[in-house]
């Protein structure tokens, strides 16, 4: 039995409508309502809410932590990806599995674990505290949490590119006289540049929205360790829905722009291999 072209078109249309409908209902509408809350007292008021010194401090800190976490993971994530794809060593599979742990465990648990380790009561925290170094409830603690939570993004983005790059380029450099650091700097890094860029966008965007680990390790100190998402949460809890929405819409917009940019960076034209 053959289905008529009409039935085919109907099925296709229905599928399309269902997907689009769900997309609107689950993703777009909440964002629209966010927008409405943010600007319902006029654009001037919206602007004032953004200019609130606490909000500005929170946004600045968010950007700063995201940048720092991206930079740290660009270095250790790329190195980890290089080790995992280019070398065979005992325990490689276990480490490979552990890399994804931050994706699997709740971020609050991550923050809790860091707090127990590096906090005033933890072994490392106490050791550092005696030397007047405070990790928790300050920028380093926040950075530590963000680096942990975003760790897999860079490793996976770079690793995927590295898998597709033949080793002969690196071997050729070795036979030509390059030392290992020169091989890494002149051959490996340029070859995985796109992976690093993609990983950086993902890391940055994930860090902008980080909440669970941040609330545990930061202490949520207004104007000092309060990031954007924590500011939103605090404002909402104190009944300032419009103030929360103003910052929320800004963060959502920033994430969207970063991911949109990523689409262009990853265009097929930019992926041609030599």
């Amino acid at each position: 039995m053959r289905r008529s072209p009409d039935t085919d078109a109907l099925v296709r249309g229905a599928t399309f409508a269902a997907a689009l409908g769900l997309f609107f209902l689950l993703i777009l509408l909440p964002l629209v309502s966010l927008n409405q809350y943010a600007v319902r007292e006029g654009i001037g008021v919206f602007w004032d809410r953004l200019k609130n010194p606490d909000a500005v401090a929170a946004l600045r800190l968010t950007a700063l932590v995201a940048l720092a976490a991206t930079a740290v993971n660009a270095v250790i994530g790329t190195t980890m990806a290089f080790l995992l794809t280019r070398y065979r060593f005992p325990g490689r599979k276990v480490i490979n599995a552990l890399v994804d742990i931050p994706l699997a465990i709740p971020t609050v648990v991550t923050g809790f674990a860091l707090l127990l380790m590096y906090g005033p009561l933890g072994p490392v925290g106490r050791f550092l505290g005696e030397r007047n170094i405070q990790v928790m409830f300050s920028f380093p603690g926040l950075l530590l949490g963000h680096v942990f939570v975003t760790f897999p993004f860079m490793v996976r983005a770079v690793g995927a590119v590295l898998e597709s790059v033949p080793r002969s380029g690196e071997d050729a450099a070795r036979t030509l006289g390059a030392k290992e650091w020169q091989v890494f700097a002149f051959v490996t890094i340029p070859a995985v540049k796109e992976g690093i860029i993609a990983g950086a966008f993902l890391t940055f965007s994930r860090s902008l929205g980080e909440f669970g680990a941040s609330i545990m390790v930061s202490g949520n100190l207004v104007g000092r360790t309060q990031t954007g998402p924590l500011y939103i949460f605090s404002r909402f809890n104190t009944g300032d829905v419009e103030g929360a929405a103003a910052i929320a819409i800004l963060l959502a917009l920033a994430s969207f722009l970063i991911l949109l940019l990523l689409q262009f960076v990853q265009s097929p034209a930019g992926r041609s291999a030599a």
Partner: protein, 363 residues
């Protein structure tokens, strides 16, 4: 006596349970081009990578220009390596690639530029020197790789299937260019290939490799005419292998006979395998067979351009293939179903103590 350009002794390498190099030895003269020929998985690329220091052997020694390479990293071995996939630096120019080795070695830019230009000239890419390697054809890219390998003035050049990724026309032209450059520079060279024609044309000698061992290391002529093993005979060119028997200085496969050369096998008594190249089998019109000839029935005939290929069965029941030149008197006269006389112009034998030999009635 001068030292060999490369000598390896008792080299062994295993990947897990699989022995890839089975304790092999080889000596290559300075300036010689040796082709390592074998099927994929025979260990030839592994051998090249061990010589380059990109892989560690389990046992054995590698000496380049007399110097023991134990513990010497690839960058200090004085080698140039050309890969099948060119392995050029992406998004860089021809000049950047060719100068790379000199740059990482800290050669001053004046010397570097001079040497780079010289090498680009050598491989005929002067016009393309400032173009990005991405805009070049496969053949041009491989010439960049060759110039890059030679720019660091190595004493040993290693080529790993350098032409396999190219289409046939480019491959043939570049093959000749590589040979010309190698002779001009006079560098000791190992080329790994699975292409017999490439090995025959390029190699001063050919090392035929199979399952981690050398089956034969000899000149292209000897490898073809006097294969040391059945594997060599079958891998290089086409061959008829017939069971035979030695009798008074000749080898007989049924009534078909060849005169024995002095290849160390006693020329009387014992069973052998008779190896006949199809072009050494020739056809005569039907008639009375003379000594050493036999009758054969033609099964099929096909034209291959310059040659005619005849598949036959001898009266003793052995399958036999002949290649006749187009100008051969029988070429236009033979067709399937004919009975013809066949004779072997030349051939060689391999000992086969347990072989079937000639039918009893003949001796």
């Amino acid at each position: 006596m001068t030292l060999p350009g490369l000598s390896i002794e008792n080299l062994r390498k295993a990947f897990g349970e699989k022995e890839v190099l089975a304790g092999i030895s080889l000596s290559v003269e300075t300036g010689e081009l040796l082709a390592i020929l074998g099927p994929s998985g025979c260990g030839k690329s592994t051998l090249l990578r061990v010589v380059a220091g990109l892989l560690r052997a389990d046992r054995g020694t590698v000496k380049i220009a007399g110097r023991d390479m134990e513990g010497v990293p690839p960058r200090d071995r004085g080698i140039g390596f050309v890969f099948q996939d060119y392995a050029l630096l992406p998004k860089t120019t021809v000049r950047d690639n060719v100068g790379f080795g000199l740059r990482v070695r800290g050669v001053p830019s004046v010397d570097r530029d001079r040497k780079t230009s010289e090498m680009i000239e050598l491989v005929g890419l002067a016009e393309e020197a400032d173009r990005s390697v991405e805009t070049l054809s496969g053949g041009q890219r491989q010439r960049v790789a060759l110039a890059r390998a030679l720019a660091v003035s190595p004493s040993l050049l290693l080529l790993d299937e350098p032409l396999s990724a190219l289409d046939i026309k480019v491959r043939e032209r570049l093959r000749r260019e590589i040979a010309a450059v190698q002779k001009k520079v006079g560098i000791t060279t190992l080329i790994v290939t699975h292409d017999q024609e490439e090995a025959m044309e390029l190699g001063d000698r050919i090392a035929v490799m199979n399952e981690g061992r050398f089956e034969q290391v000899a000149s292209p002529r000897d490898v073809y005419q006097d294969p040391a093993t059945e594997f060599v005979a079958k891998f290089i060119g086409e061959v008829n292998i017939l069971p035979g028997q030695l009798y008074r200085g000749s080898a007989y496969a049924g009534n078909l006979a060849i005169r024995m050369g002095g290849n160390g096998i006693p020329s009387h008594g014992g069973t052998v395998k008779v190896l006949l190249r199809p072009e050494d089998v020739t056809l005569l019109p039907p008639g009375i067979v003379e000594a050493g000839q036999t009758h054969a029935n033609v099964k099929s005939v096909s034209w291959l351009g310059a040659y005619l290929r005849a598949e036959m069965t001898t009266e003793e029941g052995y399958p036999l293939t002949a290649l006749l030149q187009r100008s051969h008197p029988m070429a236009d006269r033979v067709s399937a179903g004919d009975t013809v006389r066949v004779t072997a112009l030349r051939g060689t034998v391999l000992p086969d103590p347990l072989g079937a030999g000639a039918p009893e009635y003949f001796l």
